[in-house]
């Protein structure tokens, strides 16, 4: 049976709703907080939005990786632990390993770039291990990453001998701290370099998901793994690769967290980050049953979370109520998104 073709204006409307729908929630929440804090007007100030976008960067970077994983029908609960492990590894490297390097190498000021590379590498390794375990043992991702969630956190605590590892200020070049500084330097950047980096990576990932073979394969695996196998896709290898990608993103988020904390390698940091990351992807339209999710949606999801947290602080809502509000918003956002899809499908 041929379904009736919708009229042109109706199709335009659904198209607009699909593209701008996610922003509607963001606009609504922004308007709500702007109204609640209308006396000072500080909530809508440029400075405050610079703050909000910086607070989006860490969750957002990790969420990019999580988007791909969720599109491929997986989940990664170990993101927060990976971030903690990365900060500890970077701090230990700068404190313990770096002094052992030859003087000639250090004269080139390679310490921080090396630490960053190490951080991203450790993240990638964690992700690849997740993927290898999931493919190799054929256990669902939820269980495997629940295990590595504990294991990576434990590894971080063990490496750091249960304390926080501090890196002296001299070892941190000024540009490193500026990555996630609220006031960008130079000024013409308008927002922190980390925000631009996140935008750049997002654009790259969006193009990748749409125009590359592995990108399309991720959707196939998430939508129906059997079909993917049937179509000649090497599913186990793809999974390792996808979790590796997610791990790289988590590693980068760890590097940013390291910068955000001012060179502190803390094994307890970023606890609960994984749930915020998953919430951001889900608010942005990702489906935990796989096959759905967009980079734009994820970014908006992260922004919604950051605006909520910042807005609650500005409006003087107590901590306990904040948590309730955020929980309720997550449920509403996802329900609305399902309704929206129900209409366009």
């Amino acid at each position: 049976m041929l379904p009736a073709r919708p009229g042109l204006h109706r199709r335009l409307l659904t198209w607009a709703w699909t593209v701008f729908g996610p922003f509607a929630g963001l606009a609504l929440i922004t308007a709500l907080f702007a109204w609640m804090t209308r006396h000072s007007g500080q909530f809508l100030s440029v400075d405050n939005w610079r703050t909000i976008v910086v607070h989006t960067v860490i969750v957002g970077t990790a969420a990019l990786g999580m988007t791909v994983i969720i599109i491929a029908g997986g989940i990664d609960l170990s993101v927060g632990s990976t971030v903690a492990l990365v900060t500890v590894c970077m701090a230990l490297f700068m404190k313990k390993v770096d002094p052992l390097l030859p003087e000639a190498l250090r004269a080139w000021k390679v310490t921080m770039p090396l630490a960053i590379a190490l951080g991203v590498g450790v993240g990638g390794l964690c992700g690849a291990l997740n993927g290898a375990l999931i493919s190799g043992l054929r256990v669902v991702p939820f269980i495997i990453t629940l295990g590595t969630y504990q294991a990576y956190r434990g590894l971080a605590t063990w490496l750091a001998s249960s304390t926080t590892v501090y890196v002296s200020a001299e070892m941190r070049p000024p540009w490193f701290g500026r990555i996630v500084a609220i006031d960008p330097e130079p000024r013409w950047l308008l927002v922190a370099p980390g925000v631009w980096m996140l935008l750049g990576l997002s654009l790259a990932l969006a193009i990748f998901l749409r125009y590359s073979l592995p990108g399309r394969y991720a959707y196939a695996i998430g939508s129906n793994e059997s079909t993917a196998r049937l179509c000649g896709i090497n599913v186990p290898a793809m999974k390792v690769w996808i979790y590796w990608l997610g791990g790289l993103a988590a590693g980068l988020a760890g590097v940013l967290q390291f910068a955000f904390l001012g060179g502190v390698g803390a094994p307890t940091t970023a606890s609960g980050l994984e749930l915020r990351v998953i919430a951001a992807v889900v608010i942005g339209g990702g489906s935990l049953s796989g096959g759905e999710g967009t980079v734009l949606g994820t970014l908006v999801g992260c922004l919604i979370m950051a605006v909520l947290e910042n807005g609650c602080v500005h409006a003087g809502i107590p901590n306990a109520i904040q948590d309730i509000v955020i929980g309720v918003i997550i449920i509403i956002a996802v329900t609305l998104d399902r309704l929206r899809r129900g209409r366009t499908a």
Binding site: L133, G136, I182, V313, A315, P318
Partner: protein, 353 residues
């Protein structure tokens, strides 16, 4: 067939990761003083020395379950912090370090009037009167950021800040903090938000002596003065540091423990959390005094951390007690949550006098 190959890769990766990590860094664990049959059994009950007063802890003290509590003066700390900030805002000179005093409460002295004032401070309910973006009603708008909002210590401190606000009359105090006392990133975000909202001053109890340096320096660079209280910060850019002499608090705890045990016995230090300047000072004061003044007291465990919450403290205490049951005479815990967790664990294990 395909799966088999991947299984191998998975196993190899695990083995590789474990092998590649190397051994753990050397810990400072003092070996437990033997647990063989030759060791004399511990005497009846364990002596517990804690830090900070809450209703539950004072109650336990009254029943003789706790032999001593080192108390600070949170109300005074809150009051002096806000007053120091306002003084600075009104261009008057402020002392760079303000001490708020500490004392030992024992089952013998806890009913005396001056101690009673310390252990039953006025408390503020955890409700927020003013908001960051609300209309400015007073001359100065100051945000006070504690380490957490759930311990009674912070409620008393909150009362102190409100007392100062009432006395001064020209300052509006906003009270906002992270929930758990290890949410470094939350606290940094709060400082950011306060700066963005354009407050006149920030009064901060840093969760981490290093991680909060950069946000504080950025705030100062924007012309917003910062007063640090309770716990130190690794910078010189703040107006004043208002705190208990924590090191001295640890010294007092060690002396009280030595006194009750008669200078002989085996002792456990349950540390609080990594990176917390104030409790690390207390722990340092405690261990150094033990080593210097009480050669008869041996420290059998000082590597365990209670963690940020009551339940983490209680779990850690229970594990410690099953490990050292019958071998421990005295315990020191450096803050409210660790003391409470240890108390509950001791009660559960029936190890109190």
């Amino acid at each position: 067939m395909v799966g088999g190959g991947w299984r191998c890769v998975g196993v190899l990766l695990v083995v590789g990761l474990i092998a590649g990590c190397g051994g753990p860094p050397e810990g400072g664990t003092a070996a437990p003083g033997g647990s063989g049959p030759g060791v004399a059994p511990a005497r009846q009950g364990v002596v517990l020395i804690g830090f900070d007063a809450s209703e539950a802890l004072i109650g336990a003290l009254g029943q003789g379950k706790i032999q001593g509590l080192v108390v600070q003066n949170p109300v005074l700390m809150g009051e002096l912090s806000v007053k120091a900030m306002v003084k600075h805002l009104e261009k008057q000179p402020v002392e760079p370090k303000i001490s708020t005093g500490e004392a030992v409460v024992t089952p013998e002295n806890y009913k005396s009037p001056e101690i009673d004032k310390l252990i039953h401070p006025v408390r503020a309910e955890n409700v927020s009167g003013a908001s960051l973006s609300g209309p400015k009603t007073k001359k100065w708008k100051v945000i006070v950021i504690p380490k957490g909002t759930t311990h009674e210590f912070w409620e008393a401190l909150h009362a102190g800040t409100l007392k100062a606000a009432a006395e001064l009359g020209n300052v509006e105090v906003i009270w906002l903090g992270p929930q758990k006392e290890d949410e470094r990133d939350k606290q940094i975000e709060l400082v950011h938000s306060a700066v963005a909202a354009g407050v006149d001053g920030i009064v901060l109890a840093p969760l981490d002596a290093h991680a909060l340096v950069e946000p504080v320096e950025a705030a100062v660079a924007k012309g917003i003065p910062v007063v640090i209280f309770d716990s130190g910060l690794d910078t010189k850019k703040f107006v004043s540091f208002v705190a208990t002499d924590n090191y001295h608090g640890g010294v007092l705890a060690a002396r009280r423990l030595g006194e009750v045990l008669g200078g002989k016995g085996r002792v456990i230090l349950l540390r609080y959390a990594v990176g917390s300047e104030s409790t690390e000072q207390r722990e340092k004061g405690f261990t150094e005094t033990l080593a210097k003044e009480f050669p008869g007291l041996t420290l059998i465990s000082d590597t365990e951390y209670a963690g940020p919450t009551f339940d983490s403290a209680q779990q850690k205490s229970q594990s410690l007690l099953t490990r050292y049951r019958g071998q421990v005479d005295g315990i020191f815990c450096p803050n409210e949550s660790s003391t409470f967790g240890m108390l509950r664990a001791l009660e559960g294990a029936g190890m109190l006098r």
